[in-house]
């Protein structure tokens, strides 16, 4: 589904503060794979995710998504395949817009934003039905501004928004970092459910090793811009939670 071929990314090239964020990463992610990426701060996890999303472009190397060479495509064009959940719950939603408006935009992620009014009664009904899946009681608040909700609620809604339109790849950048344990649990279980139900290819970055242990069917560890461990489904299944702790020892 996603193929990264000898990706390098250097920030501030040639200056005193030059950073080699990614140093020759080759990564092939199969369809419907749920990949977990762990690694200490500065290991290049988020840069790697941004390279896949197109928020930054690689210094060298090639990015393929679904067989297409997307190396030079900006993020707003890669949205055809990719939906994102950000670390900061504020980044994934527009706070001053109503929940309904947010969902409307998400529902036309892969389409043109035209000059017709897309919010009608059937659309409202389908949004309510989707939101009811969360069991947070938000389905009757769809006219409220997104900003009135808690971080956990917003993060859960961002996840739901990703499957409003056809979606193949789901990028989760520490989606639970800003959440309390209970909200984090709801968000992670929703992500897992959506991945299975909609056959998504999901990439999760997390610092929470319990999450890394519980979710996903492949795990990689990054350090200094390289992949230093790569465990497939069987190896990950036979892993114990303490083993992952030891990686950081």
């Amino acid at each position: 589904m996603i193929d990264l071929k000898s990706i390098h990314k250097t920030f501030n090239k040639g200056k005193a503060n030059q950073v080699d964020a990614i140093r020759g990463v080759n990564l092939s992610i199969a369809e419907k794979e749920f990949l977990v990426i762990v690694g200490s701060n500065g290991s290049g996890k988020t840069t790697l995710l941004n390279l896949i999303a197109g928020a930054i472009l690689p210094s060298s190397g090639t990015v393929y998504i679904d067989g297409n060479d997307v190396t030079k495509l900006p993020d707003y064009k890669r949205s055809e395949w990719i939906a994102r959940v950000f670390q900061n719950p504020l980044s994934g939603t527009a706070p001053d817009l109503s929940i309904l408006d947010n969902f409307r935009l998400a529902a036309i992620r892969t389409k043109a934003k035209g000059l017709s009014i897309g919010i009608n009664d059937p659309f409202k009904k389908s949004v309510k039905e989707k939101i009811a899946m969360l069991g947070m009681g938000l389905e009757n608040k769809i006219e409220q501004p997104m900003g009135t909700l808690s971080g956990g609620q917003r993060q859960a809604l961002t996840l739901l928004m990703s499957i409003m339109d056809s979606c193949k790849v789901l990028l989760l950048d520490e989606p639970t970092a800003a959440l309390d344990p209970r909200s984090a649990d709801v968000v992670m279980r929703t992500a897992d459910k959506l991945t299975t139900e909609f056959g998504l290819t999901t990439i999760l970055i997390t610092h929470n090793l319990k999450e890394a242990f519980t979710y996903g069917n492949r795990i990689i560890q990054m350090a200094e811009g390289k992949i230093i461990k790569d465990l497939n489904k069987q190896d990950k299944a036979s892993l114990k939670q303490n083993d992952i702790f030891d990686w950081f020892g």
Binding site: Y76, S79, F86, T93, L105, A106, K113, G114, I117
Partner: protein, 289 residues
């Protein structure tokens, strides 16, 4: 009474600026100083074409295009060259001064004995009433168009652009393009104000745009205070409040003049009044907290 009617009419003329600033400032979060230039640009184009005996209804689309052009230049400088929007606006505004002066050929064009939209259409015998109905019709049409636009899928994407850029990009919106379109739209509206004002006051002047951005800001801030006060979420009501803001602003200025404040102090009073509206909600918050 005529005094206040004139203030009302001026307020209606300024509704384009108010809506323009509402779009650039509130929707895109961009303080757009191009306004000063594009308002005069609209006025200049109107005056020059009117003196060449172009009919007023043909001038309008040309004025809109001129304003949109000015706005998109600011937008392109801001997004493609990564220049602070405030500076981009100032650059375009400064450049427009020369453009306007060149187009006009002198600093002032009086519009005596030329037909304007106010003399073309006759609804009421009283010229002031006539002007009022024409302006009101104009404002209603513009508001309907903008209100509809903001409700469309495109409009939602526009509103989200100023609100959460990372999100709209992830949802497939080219935010650079969106900002350029937004600034073009805002300045097209501003130029329309110049179009109306020139015909209303009967002349175009190279200095008429100086500090005009404050008129738009004042209107939007008055509207914003009311919006926060009554917790309004409706797009339509917000637009109506912005328009009322433009009228309230002019009436306050008229009152200031009528109680005998020196006309030379008008800009100072304007600035003080805007400061007052901006600070009022904060001051009252403090005492209640």
């Amino acid at each position: 009474m005529d005094f206040y009617l004139t203030a009302l009419l001026q307020g209606l003329c300024f509704s384009g600026i108010a809506l323009g600033i509402y779009i650039s400032m509130k929707i895109f979060n961009i303080p757009d100083i191009t306004t000063d230039g594009s308002y005069t640009f609209g006025a200049t184009v109107t005056a020059v074409l009117l003196t060449h005996h172009f009919p007023a209804f043909i001038i309008l689309p040309i004025v809109i295009a001129a304003g949109a052009l000015a706005g998109s230049v600011t937008g392109i400088i801001h997004t493609k060259l990564n220049i602070n929007p405030l500076l981009a606006g100032i650059l375009v505004m400064t450049a427009l001064f020369s453009v306007n002066l060149t187009l006009m050929g002198r600093s002032n064009i009086p519009l005596l004995n030329v037909s304007s939209i106010f003399s073309l259409i006759n609804i009421s015998g009283d010229p002031n009433h006539n002007t009022f109905w024409i302006l009101l019709f104009f404002v209603v049409i513009v508001t309907l168009i903008i209100g509809y636009l903001l409700k469309t899928d495109f409009g939602i994407a526009m509103r989200a652009t100023g609100n959460s850029e990372s999100m709209v990009r992830a949802l497939g919106v080219n935010t650079d393009r969106m900002k350029i379109i937004g600034l073009a739209l805002a300045n097209a509206l501003t130029a329309t104000s110049g179009y109306l004002m020139t015909q209303f006051q009967g002349f175009a002047d190279i200095n008429m745009g100086i500090g005009i951005v404050i008129v738009g800001l004042g209107s939007v801030i008055i509207a914003e205070s009311l919006i926060n006060w009554f917790k309004i979420t409706s797009v339509w009501l917000s637009l109506v409040l912005v328009l009322s803001g433009a009228v309230i602003f002019q009436i306050v200025l008229a009152v200031t003049l009528s109680i005998g404040v020196d006309a030379n102090l008008l800009k100072l009073v304007t600035a003080a009044f805007v400061l007052l509206i901006v600070s009022l909600p904060r001051l009252s918050f403090k005492s209640s907290a």
